[in-house]
Every structure is written in C-alpha cells, then in structure tokens.
C-alpha cells in the first residue's frame, strides 16, 4: 500500500539546516498495523505527516497504492486524502466552533455526500464510539477521551483505507488510552491499515510491526505478531 524510497526531509532556516528524515525506505502492506517509535525529535511525526501528505519530502519518492505522491500538486493531494486517509492527532484537532456532529460530518461535506446520507453515516459512527448522546455538544464540553473518540469517528466516517495516528493517547489517561487503542485495533481488524506514532510501549503492543527511528533513520524493525488474514468489512461493523 505504501512504499517510500530514500525519503529525506530537511528543515532549513536562515542559518541552520536540520535533517529530520534521512533516506527512509519503508513499505507498509494493506491491513497492517504499524507503530513508529523513537525518542523526541527523531523524525517520527515528520514521517507520519509525509505519509499522510500533510507535508512534502525534500527528496526521495513516496507512492500510495502505486500512485506517485511526491509529484502531486495541492489539489491532487487533497483529492488523495479525501476518503483514503484518516488522521488522529495527540491534541485531537477538533474545530471548537463546530458541534460533535458537525465535526464528524465535515469530511463528508467536502466529499459532496448529500445531507440525508451524511446524517445516517455520522449517527452510525458516533453510535459505535458511544457518543450519540453528545452530538450537540461542543468539543470543550467533552473529556479528553471523548474528544479523541470524536476525532476517531471523524477519521473513519469516510471509510478511509489508511488511518494515521500521531500519539493518539498522548493526552489521555490510561483508561481512555486503552479504550482508544482498542478502537484502533478493532478498525485494523476490519481492514483499515493503521500507522501510529507513539512513545508508549503499551500502545506499540497493539501493532503487528514496530519501526524504531533514530536521528531520522530507521534503526530497527520488530515484528510483534503476524498479520491476520484481512476480512474487508471496514467500519461498517466497527
């Protein structure tokens, strides 16, 4: 599904040049659950952002389902993200001015799905994350765990193929953290490819494969457990 070749990212200021990624070559298969680990500043989030097309590499190539991503313009990247990629962030990144329902509905609006269908899909996914009773609440009125569940609902409401999570439990207590990881694991079991960036060994245990990064380079790869055979039911049965 994902293939990168010598992916490099340089951050340049007037005086200093920092190499965040140094020729990273990586392959992720469909249905995999991959965890990226490493110390702060090693380039984990940079790699995740590039994989999610939120940032572009300085050099190297990146292809998603056989399509060359690093050559795409902004509109093509947006089109690629739409319906294919879902994002979960440590700080949730919900829009404060929109209600729970409206936050989850947002990707469907941009996909041009009609209001009736949107409502059904949003309600269904919110039911799955146990937030149907909070549809009219604003993000500030929810706990951290609830906010992250809203973010997950927003990420999967489009039936995305790849879910990218940047420290999804970083701002949560252990109970909520486990709950979130269980949700991600369920999604993976139903066929969604998941890549997470984490500091937590506990979270990494949910992954099939753990990639260790140091100074922008992959220094180790550990297989936690073999990948199960995929049953592509997606989040219909979340």
């Amino acid at each position: 599904m994902i293939k990168t070749e010598k992916l490099t990212k340089l951050f340049t200021t007037e005086e200093v040049q920092t190499k965040a990624l140094n020729e990273v070559t990586l392959q992720v298969e469909q249905g995999e659950f991959v965890a990226i680990m490493g110390p702060s500043g090693c380039g984990k989030s940079t790699l995740l952002n590039i994989l999610g097309t939120l940032d572009s590499p300085t050099s190297g190539s990146y292809s998603f389902e056989g399509k060359q991503v690093d050559k795409m313009n902004e509109n093509q990247l947006t089109a690629l993200r739409k319906g294919n990629l879902g994002f979960i962030f440590q700080s949730f990144n919900l829009i404060d001015e929109l209600t729970v329902y409206e936050n989850v509905e947002l990707p469907l609006i941009y996909m041009g799905i009609k209001a009736g269908k949107r409502k059904a899909r949003v309600n269904k996914v919110l039911e799955k994350v146990n937030l149907l009773h909070r549809v009219n609440h604003y993000p500030q009125q929810l706990s951290g765990g609830q906010q992250q569940r809203v973010a997950i609902a927003r990420a999967v409401v489009t039936d995305c193929k790849l879910l990218l999570a940047d420290e999804p439990t970083g701002n949560l207590d252990s109970v909520n953290g486990i709950e979130v990881m269980e949700l991600l694991s369920d999604l993976n079991r139903q066929g969604t490819t998941v890549i997470i960036v984490t500091h937590s060994q506990r979270d990494a245990m949910y992954a099939h494969r753990v990639i260790q990064l140091l100074d922008g380079q992959i220094v180790a790869e550990n297989i936690n457990r073999p990948m199960e055979k995929i049953t592509p039911v997606k989040n219909e049965t979340l």
Partner: protein, 806 residues
C-alpha cells in the same frame, strides 16, 4: 456546505464578540461614510437627468469676444436668441425660453392676500415640450400659449387657494413693468431638488411686454434648445456669430463678437458658476475631493477588515488545517472565507444603511439639498456601488484566505502559523495606504478651514455688519414721495444711524450690465460694466473708501449725471492713475448724454472672496429709470435689532400697506455665500476624523495581536535587562515606520492637490508650513497613544508570568 460555512461564520463572530464588534463597527462606519458621500455625489451628478430628452437639450450661454479674448461669459442669453436660432440655424428641433432674470421677484395678489414671491419666470410653450416636469392639472400644449396665463406649483396653489379649485382663478402680478393679471391654467408638481430649474410661478412668455419678447440687448433669459443630434453642437456654436451680426442693430457691444456655447443640460450643475446663474451650482472639485474621501474611507475600512482578519487567522489556523486535512480543497476554503467576508460585509452594510438613514436629515440640512437613496436608481450609480461592494467583499475575503492557504496543513495544525515576511510586508503596506489617505485628508481639511477663515477675516472693503436690508415695495402711486417720507421716518428712529436705497447690496451680483466706453476714446472700445443704482448716502452707509475724487452729494446739485467707479472699472477704462480718471466723460449704453466720473472707490468685495473684483459703476438712482431700486439698507446703532424691525414694520404699513414687508440682515445674507464651502469643510472634517478613527482602530487591534504573539519575547527581553523604553520601541517600531513612510508620501500629494483646490479662489490663503506640520504631529501623537495604550500592559507585566504561560 453553506450551512456549515454559516455555522462557522456565526460562531466565530460570537466567539470573540469584542473583536467582531470592532471589526464590523469599523467597517459599518466606513461604509456609512462612503455611502453618505457617494449618495450625495450621485445626487449632484443626477442633476437634470429626469427629462427623457436630456441628452439632446442644451442651454445657450452667451459669450462676448474682443478679437480672441473672451471678455464676458454669462449663463443667460438675450430674449431674441431662441427664435433667431431656430429660424436661421439648422439642427434645432425645438427651443424654450425662461425669462426669470427680468422680474424674478414680484408682489402676487389674490383677493385680499398680497405676498412678495420669488422664483417667478416667463416661459414659452416649448417649456413643457422640452422638459418632463409633471403637470398635475392643465394641458401641457396650451397652458402657456396665450398672454395672461400662469402655471403654479402645488404648494403655491395651496398657499393661495387652500381647498378651492385653482384652475381658472386670477392672480395679479405687480412689478416694475406694471400689473399683469393671469389666469391659472396649470398646476405642476414641485420641481425635483436635483433640477437646476426651480420656479414657483411660470407666466406665459407672451405676458411679457411686447418690446422685450424678441429683444437682443437684454440678456435676462435662459434659452434651452433641443438639437436633432448631439453632433450639431459645434456647428451651431460656429454659425452663431455670423448670424448674430444681422441682429446687432444697436451701437452697444458692436465691437464684440457675440457668440454662444451650448452646454449639455446634465452638465450645467457642475460647470463653473458664471454671471447670471439660475442657481448656486455644485462645486466639481469639492465633489471630486469628497469622492476621494469616500473611497479612502472605504479602503481604510476594508484594509482594517483584512488586517484584523489576517491577524485573527493565527487563531483560526488550526481550523483551516483541520479542514484541509479532512479533505477541503483550497478553493473551498477560499469560498468559506469569502462567505464569511460576505456575512461580515452584509451586516456592516445593513448597519451602514441604517446609520445613513439616521444621518440623512442632518446631512441634508448641512449641504442644503434633499438627497435620498433614490439617486441610486439613476444612471449606473447603483451598479457601480454594487460592484465596489462585491470587489471589497472579494478582496477582504480572498486575501486572508490566501495568507492561510500558502502554509502546509501541518504547520497550521501545530499552530505555528505566523505570517511570513511577504504577508508582513503587505500588512505594512496596507498601513502605509491607510495613513497616507488619512494624512492627505487631514491636511486637506486644515487647508479648507484655513481658506474659510481667511475669507471671513479678510477685510471686505464694505460694511456688512449691523445692516438691516428691507426689500423695496411694489410699484404704487406716488412711490417717490412715499419712499422719501418713509426714509426720513426711519432715519429718525433712535436705533438707526443711516438709511440708503440701492439696486443691489453686497453679497449678490450687481448684474445690471451696460456696455460703456470713454466718450473720447478714438477706438470706441465698449466694455461691460455692472451698474449699481444708489442714492448719495450709499457710499457712506456701506463705508466705501474713496481713492480719488469724491462721492455723490446733495451739495453739488447736479450729481444725477455723475458716476463713481471702482478701481477695477477705472483700470478697465484704461487708467492706472485714478486721479486722472476724475472728470472723464463716459458714454453709457441707453443714455444719450455722456456721464462724468467724479470719484474712484477702492475695490471692495461685492461678492464672496471666491469671486474676483468686477468693474462696477455707481450712478444716481434718479438717472436710469429702468434699472430698479430694490433695497433699503438701514445701518443700525447698537441695540435691539428685532425691536427696530418691528418699528420699521409699523412705518412700512403706514406707507405701503399693499406690499409685504420683507427684510434680512446683511451679514447673514453675505455669509450664505460661504455655506457651500462651510458644508464642504464640515464634511471633510467629519470624514477625516472618521478616517483617522478607523485607521487607529485598525492600528490598535494590530498592536494588540502583535503584543499577544510577542509576550514571551518581551518577557525574555525583560529578563535580559531591556528597559521599558526599549520594549516600547521593539513593539512600536513595526508600526511607526509605515506611518513615517505614509507621512513622506502624503505631504507632497496634499501640497499639490490643495494648491490646485485653492487656485479656484480669486483670493486665497498662502500655504503655510504648519498646515502640513500640524497633521504630522497629530497623526504621530494619536498613533503613539494608540500603540502606547496597547503595549503598556505587556511592558509593565512581570516577566515570570509571560514566560510561564508561554
């Protein structure tokens, strides 16, 4: 999608109420100012366009040339021009003459009711063929076709006939040409306020004395011609002088080339004021200045909106980032920002319309017009303003959106959004534009008031204070004896110092032009002079200063045949040494015997200082019968002027019970000439104040955001030992440098533009350095206070707090 945009826009608006209020209020005030000015400007440009044939109607204006030199140019034409032009020149489809200068003020009698009325004109039947003034009663074709007919306005009909049917009633008009009885044959609607033609009574042209109806030597009528095509204009103007030669049968002005200029009906109101004008015209340069002010205020307001929205977009970066991550195309986000801009602009627009509605009555009072929103329906004004609004919405929505979309989504999500250098440069450039416009407006306002002040303080050379002017009674039997007796009775009143009668008073054009020359001039060079009829007390009463010879005096016995002239008239006669003109004989048009110059008075301002001195000849009231006496001027001693008015009114009733008693105070009458300039000054001042206020509002918010972003930096600087002054410099320099650049750009622009404006005044103030220095000091001071007001909290806060919270 729109629902989502609306939710986002509305909740953002409500989330930061103070910010939203400042943003919308600034925009609304800017829009209201611009809307008010543009409504007024549209009104001024809408003059005389209500007539279907307006694009082919021209006013015939008289010109007189000596060789290539244009010596005289009047708005009026002679009684005979219209008919002669139609008879002799091709391309004139129709014409009408409006003789309103001949007897504009008459006593009108209906039964016992006798009132002095003005705005009286004689018009021929073509009037209702050319113009579309609404006739409520009567037949357009025949209501002015016979002698003894009059068409009146609705208001006049109510005034004289109350609930009676006005049609067929007889009104008696009493003036110097005698009494004329006229049957009311029509009632018309009040003429619109955006028409330069305004009359209360239209008497049929045939009601004029026969001798004057086609007379070529009295330029006291307005002639309007309807051309078969606009291309005919030059052809007719070229052909007129040749045709006029046939009609120049008298000696007067024979040496001059009589010509005409055809001025399109719709241009009359905004072309320069000429002699014999029908109205106080609009001032084109003032209107252009106001348009500049309107656009400047609107641009300043929109720049504020852009700057504030961009500044706030730092807060909204996350929202934009999320929207991009979940699949919004850049153009969809642009659409969202445009939608928000539309919402904000529409709210501001609605408030602005409300504000304008509220202000219009006071505004109309100030400018002396009846401006309303209906002018937007004329021409392309409405469409232009709509397009301006759309452009404003587009730019104010698009620019902030672009500023955000240039960033990578991840940068926005991390909240690391800061405007780049180019964004910062653009914002500074916008501040420069705002302050340049404000500076130019401020300099301009100061100079307008300086000029007004100059005109008011300048010695007029003629007394205007403490003078009560009573209008002459209508012709009655034994007029001369009665008048003399009344004059003596008034003179005896304890509050009266002097009494004098004259044909004109300062504050208006003398306007009685005669073509005169030195009797012994070998070249027989005739020139036009304004002839002021007066009695021997006039010069003393008005404090005219003699520079040579003497004034009129009863002591000399034969002063009836003498002239006193002003310095300009002496120069026009060819004398620079005023002593040598004394005793010179002058051939005065219509007078057989030459008249002798006995004195030269110093030039004085018969009219406001925007008009140059004109050649004036003062003659004894008994010399030329047909130039009427119109005013009795009473110089008052200190005391209760209203008490004096009541005393004079009693005396008046004794002698002229048939005539209405009408009076005015000369200083107010003279000052009304400055009304337009004053209104312009007040408008410019008001709008400049608003422009500066809106600019400062913008600056205030920008500094507020800048402080919010730089709190940590300031904390670190404080820890490292920076002084408060240094911190203020650090926070303020980004704003003061654009302001200084604005000053450098604005000063020369203001100098050139105001120099051009002042050149319209014959007597004008000199441009002084402080006109430009004061605005600089003011702008810098106001900006300093604005920046200081915002930065003081950051400068005085404990560094530990800012560092901890950052």
């Amino acid at each position: 999608m729109i629902g989502n945009y609306w939710n986002s826009a509305w909740r953002n608006l409500m989330k930061r109420k103070k910010f939203s209020f400042i943003n919308i209020f600034g925009l609304a005030v800017g829009m209201a100012s611009a809307l008010l000015i543009l409504t007024y400007v549209a009104f001024e440009f809408s003059f005389d366009k209500m007539h279907a044939k307006h694009d082919r109607i021209y006013r015939v204006q008289s010109t007189f040339y000596e060789g290539e030199v244009l010596t005289d140019y009047w708005a009026s034409s002679s009684f005979g021009y219209g008919s002669a032009m139609q008879e002799n020149l091709a391309g004139i489809e129709d014409y009408t003459r409006i003789a309103s200068l001949f007897q504009p003020e008459q006593l009108v009698k209906y039964g016992e009711l006798c009132l002095r009325e003005n705005e009286i004109a004689y018009a021929d039947p073509g009037f209702f063929r050319l113009f579309d003034f609404e006739l409520l009663k009567g037949d357009r074709a025949s209501c002015l076709s016979m002698p003894g007919q009059v068409v009146i306005t609705e208001r006049i009909a109510r005034k004289y006939f109350r609930d009676e049917e006005p049609m067929g009633k007889i009104l008696v008009f009493n003036s110097n040409i005698g009494k004329v009885s006229c049957e009311v044959t029509g009632v018309m609607k009040e003429m619109p306020s955006n028409s330069h033609i305004h009359y209360n009574f239209l008497l049929s042209y045939k009601s004029l004395p026969k001798w004057v109806q086609e007379y070529w030597y009295k330029h006291e009528t307005y002639t309007y011609v309807l051309l078969d095509s606009r291309e005919r204009k030059e052809e007719i103007e070229r052909a007129f002088p040749g045709m006029a030669e046939k009609y120049k049968t008298e000696e007067a002005l024979k040496n001059k080339t009589w010509g005409v200029r055809l001025v399109p009906l719709e241009d009359i109101h905004l072309t320069p004021q000429l002699g014999y004008e029908a109205e106080q015209k609009g001032n084109r340069s003032a209107i252009i200045a106001l348009v500049f002010a309107a656009v400047a205020i609107l641009v300043i307001a929109w720049i504020n909106y852009i700057n504030l929205t961009v500044a706030r977009s730092m807060e909204r970066a996350k929202e934009v980032g999320v929207r991009r991550v979940v699949g919004a195309f850049p153009q969809q986000l642009v659409g969202q920002f445009l939608f928000e801009a539309l919402v904000m602009n529409l709210i501001a627009f609605v408030i602005a319309v409300g504000l304008v509605e509220m202000l219009l009555p006071a505004f109309n009072l100030l400018v002396g017009r009846t401006v309303s929103f209906s002018v937007w329906l004329t021409g392309y004004w409405g469409l232009s303003v709509f397009l301006l609004f759309v452009c404003g919405v587009y730019v104010s929505g698009y620019y902030p959106a672009r500023a955000l979309l240039r960033k990578k989504p991840i940068m926005l999500l991390k909240g690391k959004f800061q405007n780049g250098r180019s964004g910062e440069r653009t914002r500074k450039l916008l501040v420069v534009v705002q302050y340049t416009a404000s500076m130019i407006l401020l300099c301009g306002t100061l100079i307008v008031f300086a000029q007004l002040n100059y005109m008011r303080r300048q010695s007029l050379g003629v007394r205007t204070d403490r003078i009560l002017v009573v209008k002459f009674p209508g012709p009655t039997e034994g007029m001369k004896i009665k008048m003399e007796a009344m004059r003596k009775a008034i003179r005896k009143l304890p509050l009266v110092s002097k009494v004098t009668c004259s044909g004109s008073v300062p504050g208006e054009e003398v306007a009685m032009f005669l073509s005169n020359r030195r009797t012994h001039d070998a070249l027989k060079q005739n020139r036009l002079y304004e002839m002021l009829s007066c009695d021997p007390d006039y010069m003393d009463a008005y404090g005219l200063e003699l520079v040579a010879g003497r004034g009129f005096s009863e002591d000399y016995g034969d002063d009836v045949n003498k002239l006193v002239i002003n310095e300009t008239a002496a120069r026009t006669l060819g004398y620079t040494d005023y002593e040598s003109v004394i005793g010179e004989e002058i051939s005065v048009e219509t007078i057989e015997e030459p008249m002798q110059v006995i004195g030269v008075v110093k030039d004085y301002h018969q009219q406001a200082l925007n008009r140059n001195y004109t050649p004036i000849m003062l003659f004894h009231k008994d010399k030329i019968d047909w130039i009427p006496q119109r005013y009795i001027s009473i110089v008052m001693k200190p005391g209760d002027s209203l008490e004096l008015v009541s005393q004079i009114s009693e005396i008046w009733t004794t002698y002229f019970a048939d005539s209405s008693f009408d009076y005015f105070f000369l200083d107010q009458f003279y000052d009304r000439q400055y009304r337009q300039d004053e209104a312009f000054g007040v408008l410019m001042g008001g709008f400049t104040g608003l422009a500066i206020f809106i600019s400062c509002l913008g600056l205030w918010i920008l500094v507020m955001f800048s402080c919010a972003v730089r709190t940590k930096e300031m904390g670190i600087r404080k820890v490292l030992g920076a002084s408060r002054l240094n911190l203020f410099y650090q926070l303020g320099k980004d704003f003061f440098i654009p302001i200084l650049i604005a000053i450098v750009i604005a000063l020369p622009v203001a100098w050139f533009s105001m120099n051009a404006w002042l050149s319209h005044y014959a007597f004008r103030t000199e441009l002084k350095a402080w006109f430009f220095l004061l605005p600089v000091v003011l702008i810098v001071l106001i900006s300093f206070l604005t920046v200081a007001g915002q930065t003081i909290t950051v400068i005085y806060s404990k560094p530990a707090r800012s560092l901890r919270y950052e």
